[in-house]
């Protein structure tokens, strides 16, 4: 295992290219990028620009065609599926645009699931889930099923689920994309609070306002390449331009 990231980097991509079909235009071409601990980075770009591909590579959900991906000090582009799954369970939390909650599990069981898959003890997992449910204002809904919750509540459940294993890195793919404006702001505030607590966060979003309001740095992807970086905005503590 090679650790090519600089001290303090949670994510480092070097010359990453991703091509889905041989001969086709690459979804990502020679992308290099790093994200520091406790930084909030927004990844923006038009549809089909490659930002979700970038997120998938960082999360270990997919492998690059070439280049290296190092996350939380581990080179993940060379890991097998099993090791990648373990890596995701321990180091990465993922929040999806459409929540991706399991409809036939209660709120509590949804939140517990990643801890159970990671092999956490029942007591420790339950304690952590209880803590998160209280923190995210979901305590009274612990036995409810996702279908009974509002969009904002569902996204908060998804955030609790992503945090249950205390990951170093939280990835959010259009976290407010399926929510109305007010609820979107509510979720934005919540993410910011998490970052205030030291949580590293990568946001994929179409929403410039969300990026501007909550991200310390925005990376623009156009046609699979990193466009010229935008100026850093005054953001949360720990941000690095």
């Amino acid at each position: 295992m090679t650790d090519s990231s600089a001290p303090g980097d949670v994510i480092r991509l070097d010359g990453v290219t991703k091509t889905y079909q041989a001969g086709a235009v690459p979804a990502l071409a020679d992308v290099s990028l790093s994200v520091a601990i406790a930084e909030v980075v927004a990844i923006m770009g038009p549809s089909g620009s490659g930002k979700s591909t970038l997120l998938n590579l960082i999360a270990g959900l997919d492998r690059p065609t070439s280049g290296t991906v190092t996350v939380a000090g581990r080179r993940i582009d060379t890991l097998g599926e099993g090791a990648l799954a373990r890596f995701r369970a321990r180091h990465v939390g993922i929040i999806f645009q459409f929540f991706n909650l399991l409809d036939d599990l209660t709120v509590e069981d949804n939140v517990l699931l990643p801890a159970q898959l990671a092999g956490a003890s029942r007591r420790a997992a339950r304690a952590r889930a209880d803590e998160l449910l209280v923190r995210l204002g979901l305590e009274q809904h612990r036995n409810a099923y996702p279908a009974r919750l509002s969009g904002g509540q569902r996204q908060r459940v998804a955030i609790a689920r992503a945090l249950v294993n205390s990951p170093e890195l939280l990835l959010a793919d259009e976290p407010t994309g399926a929510l109305d404006t007010a609820t979107g702001q509510e979720i934005g505030h919540l993410l910011r609070q998490l970052n205030d607590g030291g949580q590293t966060l990568v946001l994929v979003t179409h929403d410039p306002a969300l990026a501007e309001r909550y991200a310390a740095r925005t990376v623009r992807i156009v046609d699979g390449q990193v466009a010229a970086p935008l100026a850093a905005v005054a953001g949360p503590a720990g941000g690095r331009a």
């Binding site: 998938n56 999360a59 959900l61 997919d62 492998r63 599926e81 099993g82 799954a85 373990r86 995701r88 369970a89 321990r90 993922i94 999806f96 991706n100 399991l102 409809d103 036939d104 599990l105 209660t106 069981d109 517990l112 699931l113 990643p114 159970q116 898959l117 990671a118 029942r122 099923y145 279908a147 689920r161 294993n165």
Partner: protein, 782 residues
């Protein structure tokens, strides 16, 4: 869109769902092969006899009368009795002892007939000519008489007469109902009767009702009542001849039919499941097809074609496989039992093909109609996700169980699609039933084989086939018999030995002759399977087989009059023993059946060994002791071709059904993984490892498999009992209770694991595909 376009669309769907197409094809291959084989066995077991019986106007009953007790007018009057549709005779007859080449050749019933034809029992002359003078005989080729090797011109010597008579074989004929062993001119019979022998004659009848032994007994009673008392001395029915002609293909029918029915039911379930799964999975596609202009009828065609092509391919391959399987089975059966060559009839293939295609069309029609009726918007909106809200309670309970989470998630999953789960459960249950049933039937057949061949109690026999002077089974000399007895007694390892004599005897009501097996000592240790009663233990008692009881109308505890050729004795039937077949057999001591235990009738020595004695070493040592010139040779009993053929066939059919069930599971799991591919992506994104995915997916089917096992175990026990009894019924024998008691609880539990093996075996492939799928790809799926 044109109809051609619809078919092209279906072909496109087919190529995108290769696994489903392969599953449909293979399931129908297996089912059609079973059906073809079953139909072939059914047809070949009964068709040739039935055809010949009709053409040759076979006799339903051959009544033997003492012509001295009734006038010709009284005998002729029986032609007009109620229920008689045709009659022939009386033909004078005589039962004689015959020698050929100086060796005993058996006991034969000869009838005097002026010509082979007539309104009943048209004897087909297969070689030579009909007797037209004294000293000529036509021998029957259809019966199961001992001996053989006769040719035109061979001479038979009739013994036991004041003046020995010689008969020259001038022809061979076939009486479909074995009314006699040979035919001579009517005038010849008087010369063949011993002094004081009754003036026997045959009356041949066809009746309106003669389908069972009971009906035939009623018919015979009617004739008996119409004649003076004591006139009727015996009667033989067509049923015994039919059994002999049909051979053992008929015995296999019950289990082949059982497997074929299981195969058919599974084919309907699995094809229905595949098609409805295709409709459900393709809701969105249906919506799109309709929105671009396909009519409901064209949508139906798309979905029927998607099933139709692989179904047709599977059915055609199944017909070929069924015929290929039928060839060795039928040939083996024919060879083993000398019923001539047998071939699967063409209509069995056509019927199996048409039947399976019709069943497939029926199974596919419902889902295809549903696909046709869905509106475009309904279909697109319905998508392919299972309806939410099902199985909440099960998931909640599973989450609380102290099980690894993937197992809990897997066990709760079947509640999402209860109908699909039920169909899959039924397919597993059918497959497991077939496997458990096959093991049970194999055990039952083993017990039957051991009981029939006595291989566990009589592991060694001495038979007169040693390399002495001459060829063939000639009678050993008295000195050789004595030497054999001495060698047996002197050979270490001998626990029991008994000489066994065989001759044919006449018993009223039994077709032709009954085989009398007479033991020259204690034979209680030989271990014949007792169906009812007990082994004889006193003079005057005999045991008989089921055919004897059926044909004679006697029961255990009753008495029978046995004519051994030298004496007529009355014996009490002590028990019914397992000895299948339509040949009547009785077993008794030399005291009970006088005249049978002669040197000429000595058939073999049965030998029991001390525990721990090696059979092979014993046989070698005994043969060495007997010497190279002895006609007696130690050997091990034949294991029996029929049981070997049947066991192989059972194994093959069970394997085919189990594979079909496994394919059904594979299809279900595959459809479910497609339904849930996005959910699988979520699990993977949350950290579920490939091994955990594999475990979860296999557990989707584990719950239904456990339920299927609980259903399959008792079903297989019941099916085995019913099948063994049906087979025994076809072989005209009862069965000892031990033949069906082959499932001790521990074994049944172990065999029930077959359901889990089928389920896991079927689920592993799609589960491993699911485990290997890239999470990003799965998450992108709709």
């Amino acid at each position: 869109m044109s109809w051609l376009g619809a078919v092209r669309t279906a072909a496109g769907g087919l190529l995108r769902h290769k696994v489903q197409a392969v599953v449909i094809g293979l399931v129908l291959l297996v089912s059609t092969a079973s059906a073809t084989l079953g139909l072939a066995l059914l047809a070949t077991s009964s068709a040739p006899f039935n055809h010949a019986f009709g053409v040759q106007r076979g006799a339903d009953v051959t009544v033997t009368v003492d012509a001295a007790r009734a006038s010709p007018a009284e005998l002729a009057a029986t032609r007009h009795l109620a229920g008689v549709t045709a009659a022939a005779g009386p033909f004078a007859s005589s039962t004689v002892q015959v020698q050929s080449g100086g060796q005993p050749f058996g006991q034969f019933t000869l009838a005097g007939r002026a010509s082979p034809g007539g309104p009943v029992d048209d004897v087909v002359l297969t070689a030579g000519h009909w007797p037209n003078g004294p000293g000529q005989v036509v021998m029957d080729t259809g019966g199961a008489q001992p001996g053989g090797g006769l040719q035109l011109g061979s001479t038979l010597t009739v013994t036991g007469l004041p003046r020995t008579a010689a008969l020259t074989v001038v022809g061979f004929g076939n009486s479909i109902t074995d009314t006699a062993d040979g035919w001579v001119t009517p005038a010849e019979i008087a010369r063949l009767r011993g002094p004081g022998a009754p003036a026997s004659a045959q009356l041949l009848y066809r009746f309106t009702q003669a389908a069972s032994f009971a009906q035939i007994r009623t018919d015979v009673a009617e004739v008996t009542r119409a004649l003076p008392a004591g006139t009727v001395t015996g009667a033989a029915s067509w049923l015994a001849a039919a059994d002999q002609a049909e051979g053992n293909g008929a015995i296999m029918e019950p289990f082949v039919v059982a497997f074929a029915l299981i195969g058919l039911a599974m084919a309907v379930l699995i094809v229905g499941n595949v098609v409805s799964g295709a409709v459900v999975a393709g809701y969105k596609r249906i919506g799109v097809l309709k929105s671009v202009g396909l009519s409901p009828a064209q949508v139906m065609v798309v979905y029927l074609s998607r099933v139709g092509w692989p179904a047709l391919a599977g059915c055609l391959a199944g017909v070929v496989l069924g015929n290929v399987l039928a060839v060795p089975v039928l040939q083996g059966s024919a060879r083993a039992y000398g019923v001539g060559s047998q071939q699967a009839p063409w209509w069995a293939s056509v019927l199996a093909l048409a039947g399976m295609l019709a069943l497939t069309a029926l199974a596919a029609l419902g889902p295809a109609l549903r696909a046709g009726r869905l509106s475009a918007t309904e279909a697109i909106a319905a998508g392919r996700a299972p309806r939410p809200g099902r199985g909440y309670m099960v998931h909640r309970v599973a989450a609380r169980l102290r099980l690894p989470r993937p197992i809990g998630l897997g066990l709760a999953a079947p509640t999402a699609r209860p109908a699909r789960t039920m169909v899959t459960l039924a397919a597993i249950a059918f497959g497991a039933t077939a496997v458990i049933f096959a093991f049970g039937l194999h055990s039952s057949l083993n017990r039957a084989a051991q009981s029939q061949n006595l291989s566990s109690t009589v592991p060694v026999q001495l038979q007169p086939f040693g390399p002495g002077p001459g060829t063939g089974p000639q009678t050993p000399s008295a000195a050789q018999d004595a030497a054999a007895t001495a060698a047996l007694r002197a050979q270490p390892g001998t626990l029991h030995d008994v000489p066994v004599y065989l001759n044919q005897v006449k018993v009223p009501g039994i077709a032709g002759s009954a085989n009398a097996w007479v033991f020259g000592g204690d034979a209680g240790w030989t271990g014949y399977g007792i169906i009812a009663g007990r082994w004889y233990d006193a003079p005057g008692q005999v045991d008989v087989n089921t055919a004897f009881l059926d044909q004679s109308g006697l029961t255990v505890g009753g008495t029978a009059t046995v004519n051994t050729g030298t004496a007529q004795v009355t014996v009490r039937i002590a028990g019914e023993v397992f000895d299948p077949g339509s040949q009547a057999e009785l077993f008794g001591s030399a005291q009970t059946l006088p005249g049978v235990a002669t040197a000429a009738n000595l058939q073999q020595y049965d030998v029991g060994l001390r525990p721990g004695t090696s059979v092979t070493a014993y046989v070698q040592a005994l043969n060495a002791r007997l010497g190279s010139n002895s006609r007696w040779q130690a050997t091990t009993p034949d294991d029996g071709n029929f049981y070997s053929i049947a066991s192989d066939l059972v194994g093959l059919l069970a394997l085919m059904v189990a594979v079909a069930a496994g394919l059904g599971v594979l299809n279900t799991v595959l459809m479910t993984t497609r339904d849930r591919v996005h959910e699988l992506g979520v699990f993977k994104a949350l950290g579920m490892r490939p091994g955990q995915v594999l475990t979860m997916v296999v557990c989707w089917i584990a719950g239904p498999a456990v339920v299927a096992a609980a259903i399959a175990a008792p079903a297989a026990v019941a099916l085995n009992t019913a099948t063994v009894r049906a087979m025994a019924g076809t072989a005209h024998t009862g069965v000892p209770a031990s033949f069906t008691q082959v499932f001790p609880p521990s074994r049944l539990v172990l065999l029930s694991l077959a359901a889990l093996v089928i389920a896991v075996g079927g689920a592993l492939l799609p589960a491993s595909w699911a485990a290997r799928a890239r999470p990003a790809v799965a998450l992108r799926a709709e």
